[in-house]
Amino acid sequence: MLLKFNFKFKISTFKLLIIFLFFLNFLSAQEYSFDFEEFEKKPYEFIVNFKIQPDFTLLNKSSELYSLNFLNKEEKDYWDSYTASLELKGSYEFSKFKFTLDIIDQLSYTKNNEFENKFSIYEFFGNADFSTNFSLQIGKKSVKWGKGYIWNPVSFVGRQKDINDIDAGLEGFWVMKLDYVKSLSGILQNFSVTPVIVPVTKDINEDFQAGESVNFVLHTYFLIKDTDLDFYLFMKDEKFKKIGFDIARNILPSWEIHAEYAFEKDVITNWWNSDFVVESTASNTHDYLFGTRILFGSNTTLIVEYLHNDAGLDIRQMKNFFDAVELAVSEDPDLLPTVKKYQSESFSAQFLMRDYLYAKISQPEPFDILYFTASVFVLFNINDKSEMIGGEFNYSRFENLNLKLKYSLLFGENNSEFGEKISSGKMSFLMEYVF
């Protein structure tokens, strides 16, 4: 009986061993698994993006803009602000139609020690694909054009990038946009034609441009051999307003070049004369940008761009404004409302003057740290020799979590753009979680 039991035990142990070995073999054969069914298409999808961003700004107490903003206020050495934002991107698709929504709620504890809540609809539009060639989009949509990294003079339907956060999403405008695309065989590989209508009323797109208008924009794109070529036309109330083009190609596998040009009729520039009076002049402007992007063997990427902002102020006009600020702050308080109005309306553009040089070097995975990218940049104002220097450290090791540390320092003489900014430096930390 005992023997029999032992025999049975041995048999079952042997079976177990076989099963165990088979299982081990199965595991080793299936070292990597991929359950692709969880990636089957669903009619709806949504992504939530949660961001926390503390900012620390070092104030430039010797600048004219500091004197203006801290007039009759308690002086400060720095500003700190804290922002938490929740962005919901969702879409629902049926048949040939798709609806997209992108909303952001942003809660900030501001530099003035106050809580501020801002809710924005970045995008809310419907898309209809009539065929592979034709599609129609109606609603609020972010439309981005141009080949420049830091500036896009041909972005006729989009907002300009924030030079402190170039890759940030931008709020769209209410548009009706039709796309026609066609592929061909030959030197012209494909082309597309995109007419866009942008209405401006008291209730919609009021920040697109001043006054009510109906704007028609035509974008055409051609891939000729290995070159991207785009043309843009902007008509305001059936009258010609702007025209432009951009071009990009790789002249070597690791060397890309690009350029943008835009001509605009009757651009109004507000500027201070030496009698401290704001004058307005209308002129036709030629904005352009040349740039290159090079990838070196070390995996280092260099971006260099030169840009010309034709409607920008010259050195004399900048000095007149700073002199007006000094006069308003120290001697002539009656001038203060005009100076403050000018600062908020005409002195808040990304590029105030005319000629800039931008260079950025980024290095992915330095010291073999996977998912880590370090970069440095300089934005040099060629006209007044002032500059902004900064950098960014990005770490995306953890799934759906992105950590970013950014800093910038401003340098310049008196009466120069970056020398007279209210801040002399800024540091931000961004924690972004996507789920």
């Binding site: 439309v143 759906n400 789920f435």
Partner: protein, 253 residues
């Protein structure tokens, strides 16, 4: 007289030898390129969709996974888009022959990139992820037998290709690669691709389902690509344009 005939004979023999070796090399090259074409078709149909999971494995064993949806047509058109992780969803890469563009949803417009960059970090670069048919980028210059496998030496047709030379070990039974070594023009080994786990994907597609990579430049790091759901599909050419880069994930069937 004897000497004169001998000299002419020597010259004729030399010409014959050169000619024969040239013809032999040409024959090898033709046979090699024919085999390479068969390998291309065994790896993927001419026009297809598929899913790819990429796993980056660090020396300490930590892993990060990415899932991509892939569409390819003919020799020169391919587009991929990220389906996972959520932070990367919608990030798409388009390849038209030697031109390559990256679309990032926040940035909102395509920008030109190169095949040597990596959209995911780690060992796989864009060229590995967006691999076109080998015949469209390489010529076979040598074919030898080695331990039951054919070994092909492939030379890049242009300097635009990510790797100047490949050494490909071919599984003779399935006519698919079992190993590929990638070299620079100076002959330096950049990475080795190991093709594993032959699988029947249906529609006559029997091929390795796992591609494992290591590189002497990234010691102890490893990257793995797992293929799934490879199936032939008719795709319009217009899908491979900049206009479509923001809606590639919607093209899943």
């Amino acid at each position: 007289m004897f000497k004169k005939i001998s000299l002419i004979g020597k010259i004729l023999l030399l010409i014959l030898a050169i000619n024969t070796s040239f013809l032999f090399a040409q024959e090898i090259s033709e046979a090699g390129n024919k085999l390479l074409k068969e390998i291309d078709r065994n790896l993927t149909p001419e026009s297809f969709e598929s899913l790819k999971k990429i796993i980056n494995i660090e020396p300490n064993g930590t892993e990060k996974e990415f899932v991509l949806f892939v569409l390819k047509k003919g020799n020169d058109k391919m587009v991929t888009t990220f389906l996972s992780p959520k932070s990367e969803v919608g990030r798409s890469t388009l390849r038209l022959d030697e031109n390559m563009w990256l679309y990032i949803p926040n940035v909102g417009k395509p920008m030109r990139i190169t095949s040597l960059q990596s959209v995911i970090g780690g060992i796989f670069n864009n060229s590995d992820i967006m691999q076109l048919d080998y015949t469209s980028e390489y010529d076979v210059i040598e074919m030898v037998d080695e331990e039951g496998e054919k070994v092909l030496t492939l030379q890049a047709k242009t300097f635009n290709v990510a790797y100047d030379q490949l050494k490909m070990w071919v599984n003779v039974e399935h006519k698919t690669p079992s190993k590929i070594e990638c070299y620079t023009p100076s002959g330096m080994l950049i990475k080795t691709l190991h093709f594993k786990e032959i699988k029947d994907f249906g529609n006559g597609i029997i091929r390795p389902s796992v591609l494992e990579t290591d590189s002497p430049l990234h010691k102890d790091y490893k990257a793995v690509m797992i293929y799934a759901n490879i199936k032939p599909r008719k795709i319009d050419d217009e899908v491979f344009t900049l206009n479509y880069m923001d809606k590639i994930k919607d093209l899943r069937e």
